[in-house]
């Protein structure tokens, strides 16, 4: 039967069946629909204990005394450990990078000693037989506090009268940076139109539905540490555990099974992670910690608290001459370790104005300490802020100059045929496609019809608005991101591809899976490049003992860096399979080809031998092969992108909204995104990355904000009070692609995971302001709540 089928398939036909470029459903997702996933909290180990952390209820307070006797005598309580005890096994850490010149942050402990610097900082660990027992015991601990002066407001953090949080520093300044091309003042003096506006970005957080979770299993007999961790960067964590606890990295293994959402929240090393490992070492048994939802809000990193004053200079014909921005951001009391909390602000000043041709640019950045939850990299990292400032002020200029906002962008974007080039902020751009993307967007949304509809409805008192955003996104980072700054976060990625004894292919990759579909696209690449059906490929990720060294998932690097490593290893394995076939068949390798799990005769187009038979011979009958030929059916290849600091992608988005001017409510009607992430490996998965990211961007623009009072206390730290987008509030999101392959790799793929978040807030803000245009009202403070819109409309004054 098989022979009959094979007779009808030629070698070329088999080779033409490609998986890359196809919308293939994720083979590994079926178990997730059946409740058969394994997330960290599902794992139970013998003698496993549960840690609960007692957290500061104050934003800034000295610990006068801690009374634990009552708690220690409660049933099931194993140990209570304070910061000083923890410091005996875990050294303090400092979240700075060398290339962020001048930045500073004080040493931070896994469990605070003497003083808590934000509401939520852990000051004591209680370990018990069950989580409920540990929580009961925490209630029985008495802490006497002396409250200290709180620095909550970033706007006054640098004022001389404001207390300095860290006595070793002379101010609350963490980092300061200025960029200046030199001719900004002259450009503004010569401008026909100058607009200026201030933009605010509410502090928000990731709210992964699976909370942060870690299970540390230290085996004192062999002094080996295994950590089951819901993380985006297993190798980075293994390196940090090794160094923090003085263990050889070879004796540290980090295992990451299914991850219930990450978005950057789970790419950081949290004090809780170190403390939980420290507890396992101290107690000589496995210790699990799973954050509950309330503590997630005060311990997961926050992001995006920025105030940006922006000015834009334009010539009479609408040409942008210069941007001038001043960014202030509050990051909490410590810069997060090891990626630091200055990267977001640094990216804001690097990326503002990024799509446009102006040559003059000035930016100032102040990153300040305050007594709130530490901030760090969350999906989009600076892009949503830079994009909103850039696109917001361009729309302001468009309305001032009475130029259509799409037209003004067309006049100013870098031309598609003008690359490679440099942006005014100094960023290197390989190949972008702003013009093609704008054309595609205009057609997709039927712009002119939408404008007519808007005008008609406006006559009836229905206020709709159309907003655009043009974005660039840095992806496929080189070592420029972290490595050159001294952080041991891998820029390279490796893949090991092996043919097993039955002729199937296993591929182990350093980049993991958090639902994006990385494992699926790796399988697609391996299937094409080795030459076998997708169903014959198995992927291994999420285990530092089983995968090549790599950085993991951040900065939209999984497909572009990890995928290229898979491609290179797979091609080499195909060559080795071909070599084996040639020797075995006594043919010239050039006469043979590989496809569909078989070796074929190029000339006759007929199949000669399949992978299973070749693997059988290699494994069990090497006696049949010549003495001087050893088949190599395991190949490892690595890839690191070294041509550019980052490989930029680009895209455009549009939002169509209706504003109820009586209630201030905004209905998001439609959203469009045109994305150029280079080669699209799996269109469905890229579309879903874009859609999910757009909605995360909308979340920050419309709903999400960590609201603090003047004492630095979070007022809405629960899922009931902190709003995230729900299905009824979200629009349908139409996605289209332009494919400008990067030439830095054979694969040609760039990142796709964050562009949606980068562009959505700007598009929504511009759409709301377009709707409000008849009232000469604008909103520039995210999230755009009904209250803020009514204030802009002058309908509430209190």
């Amino acid at each position: 039967m098989n022979d009959l089928v094979e007779l009808h398939v030629s070698a070329d036909a088999a080779a033409s069946l490609r998986h890359v470029g196809q919308s293939i459903a994720r083979p590994t997702a079926k178990r997730l629909t059946e409740g058969r996933g394994v997330y960290m909290d599902d794992i139970e180990l013998p003698r496993m204990a549960h840690a609960v952390y007692l957290r500061s209820p104050h934003a800034h307070a000295r610990i006068v005394s801690i009374e634990t006797a009552a708690a220690l005598s409660m049933p099931g309580v194993i140990a209570i450990v304070d910061g000083a005890q923890m410091a005996q096994v875990c050294a303090p850490f400092v979240g700075t990078l060398l290339h962020m010149v001048g930045m500073r942050s004080p040493p931070q402990h896994a469990i605070a000693i003497n003083r808590a610097c934000w509401q939520g900082e852990a000051i004591l660990a209680v370990v018990a037989e069950s989580r409920a027992m540990a929580e009961d015991a925490v209630e029985a601990v008495t802490v006497v506090w002396e409250q200290l002066a709180v620095v909550a407001n970033m706007e006054t953090a640098l004022a001389p009268e404001t207390p300095v949080i860290h006595p070793e520093f002379d101010s609350n300044l963490c980092f300061h940076r200025e960029l200046d091309t030199g001719g900004v003042d002259a450009a503004f003096a010569a401008a026909d139109t100058v607009v200026e506006e201030t933009y605010f970005f509410g502090r928000h957080t990731g709210v992964t539905v699976e909370p942060r979770s870690v299970l540390a299993d230290f085996n004192p007999a062999e002094r080996r540490l295994t950590v089951h961790h819901s993380t985006q960067a297993p190798h980075m964590m293994a390196d940090l555990y090794s160094r923090q606890f003085g263990l050889p990295e070879a004796d540290v293994r980090v295992i990451c099974r299914d991850v219930g959402g990450s978005f950057g929240i789970k790419v950081h090393a949290y004090p809780d992670d170190f403390a939980t490992v420290g507890l396992s070492i101290l107690l000589k048994r496995p210790v699990k910690f799973v954050a509950d939802r309330l503590e997630s809000f005060v311990t997961d990193i926050h992001a995006r608290e920025h105030r940006i004053k922006a000015r834009l200079a334009l010539a009479r014909d609408g040409r942008i001459l210069a941007f001038d921005i001043d960014d202030l951001t509050g990051i909490g009391p410590y810069s997060m370790f090891p990626r630091t909390s200055v990267v977001e602000g640094n990216q804001v000043v690097n990326l503002t104005g990024g799509p446009y041709k102006h040559t003059e640019y000035r930016a100032k950045l102040d990153v300040v300490f305050q007594n709130k939850v530490p901030t760090c990299q969350y999906r989009g990292v600076g892009h949503p802020i830079a994009c909103a400032v850039t696109e917001g002020i361009i729309d302001l200029a468009a309305s001032r100059m009475d130029i259509d906002p799409l037209e003004l962008r067309r006049r100013n974007v870098m031309e598609d045929d003008s690359y490679p080039r440099k942006g005014a902020a100094g960023i290197l751009l390989e190949r972008l496609s702003h013009q093609q993307c704008l054309d595609k967007l205009e057609a997709m949304m039927d712009y002119s019809a939408l404008r007519s509809e808007q005008a008609e409805l406006r006559k009836k008192g229905i206020y709709r608005g159309i907003g655009f955003s043009v974005l660039i996104e840095l992806t496929n980072p080189s070592a420029a991101f972290y490595g050159i700054g001294g952080a041991r976060i891998s820029a390279q990625e490796g893949a090991t591809v092996r043919l097993d004894a039955t002729g199937m292919v296993h591929c182990a990759v350093g980049v993991g899976e958090q639902g994006q579909g990385n494992e699926t696209i790796f399988a697609q690449i391996a299937a094409d490049e080795v030459g076998l059906p997708l169903a014959s490929v198995r992927i291994v990720t999420g285990d530092t003992a089983a995968t090549p060294y790599g950085g993991g998932t951040w900065a939209s690097r999984g497909a572009g860096i990890g995928g290229e490593a898979v491609l290179l290893a797979s091609r080499e394995l195909r060559a080795n399979i071909l070599a084996l076939a040639a020797v075995h068949l006594k043919r010239d390798a050039g006469e043979l080809m590989v496809a569909d799990g078989k070796v074929w005769d190029r000339a006759t187009q007929g199949p000669l031998i399949d992978f299973a038979e070749l693997a059988r011979i290699a494994c069990f009958r090497p006696d049949l092969l010549p003495r001087d030929f050893q088949p190599e059916l395991v190949v490892t290849r690595h890839y690191s992108q070294r041509d550019f600091p980052f490989v930029f992608t680009n895209g455009t988005q549009a939002s169509y909204v209706e504003v109820d001017t009586e209630t201030g409510f905004v209905k998001l009607l439609r959203h469009w995104a045109v994305e150029d992430c280079g080669r699209v490996i799996n269109p469905m998965l890229v579309n879903e990355q874009i859609r999910g990211a757009v909605v995360q961007g909308i979340g920050g623009a419309m709903f999400e904000e960590c609201l603090y009072d003047e004492n630095g206390l979070l007022r809405n730290g629960s899922m009931a009070d902190y709003l995230v987008p729900m299905s009824s509030e979200m629009p349908d999101i139409e996605v289209a692609h332009v494919e400008t392959f990067t030439r830095t790799s054979e694969l040609g793929a760039k990142g796709a995971g964050e562009a949606g978040t980068a562009g959505a807030p700007a598009a929504v803000m511009n759409a709301i302001n377009d709707a409000l245009a008849p009232f000469v009202a604008r909103v520039t403070s995210q999230p755009f709540t009904p209250e803020k819109i009514l204030r802009a409309l002058d309908k509430i004054h209190v």
């Binding site: 058969r36 409920a132 539905v209 299914d258 899922m719 009824s728 999101i733």
Partner: protein, 166 residues
């Protein structure tokens, strides 16, 4: 601490007798006592919907329900519902539309969607979006979830019609 209570709860067709604390939530009972890990605790205060299970056929939040409240009742979790094949069409549609990414919310999403399609077999896109607003998803942006539910709605209606005509 209150004394433990003897409970008899049928989970996925098997009767379990356990002494449990009255304060224990159903989600913790299922996960920690019985090992049904497919039910997930996301927010632990009834907002996110990841912990949905069925008691006597009705979908409830496992984090707002005490296990003792299920004494004498029949509880179904995603494991049992999957094994029965009762929602395999919906599960297949979720896969085909990539209506799940991380999968943490998915069991709750599936139960809510199945409830809707039983109560409103002709639910339109807007009704689907409104009904699903009790379940949080941070990955997908919801578009694909709505698509998958629409696909299942159409296939179930088609099956119902062909069932009537035969």
């Amino acid at each position: 601490m209150t004394d433990k209570v003897l409970t008899r709860i049928a989970v996925n067709g098997v009767v379990y007798e356990r002494w449990i604390e009255p304060r224990q939530h159903l989600v913790d009972y299922l996960r920690d006592e019985l090992g049904f890990k497919g039910t997930r605790a996301g927010c632990e205060h009834g907002v996110c919907g990841a912990c949905a299970v069925r008691i006597n056929g009705e979908t409830v939040r496992g984090c707002l329900t005490l296990a003792v409240q299920a004494d004498g009742a029949a509880v179904e979790t995603i494991e049992g519902i999957s094994d029965s094949g009762a929602i395999s069409d919906l599960q297949h549609a979720f896969l085909q539309h990539n209506a799940l990414q991380c999968g943490f919310c998915t069991a709750g999403m599936l139960l809510s969607a199945d409830d809707l399609l039983k109560a409103e077999p002709g639910a339109n896109r807007e009704q689907i979006r409104a009904h699903m607003s009790g379940n949080y998803c941070r990955c997908s942006g919801y578009h694909a979830i709505v698509d998958a539910i629409e696909t299942t709605r159409d296939s179930r209606r088609l099956a119902a019609r062909s069932g009537e005509s035969t």
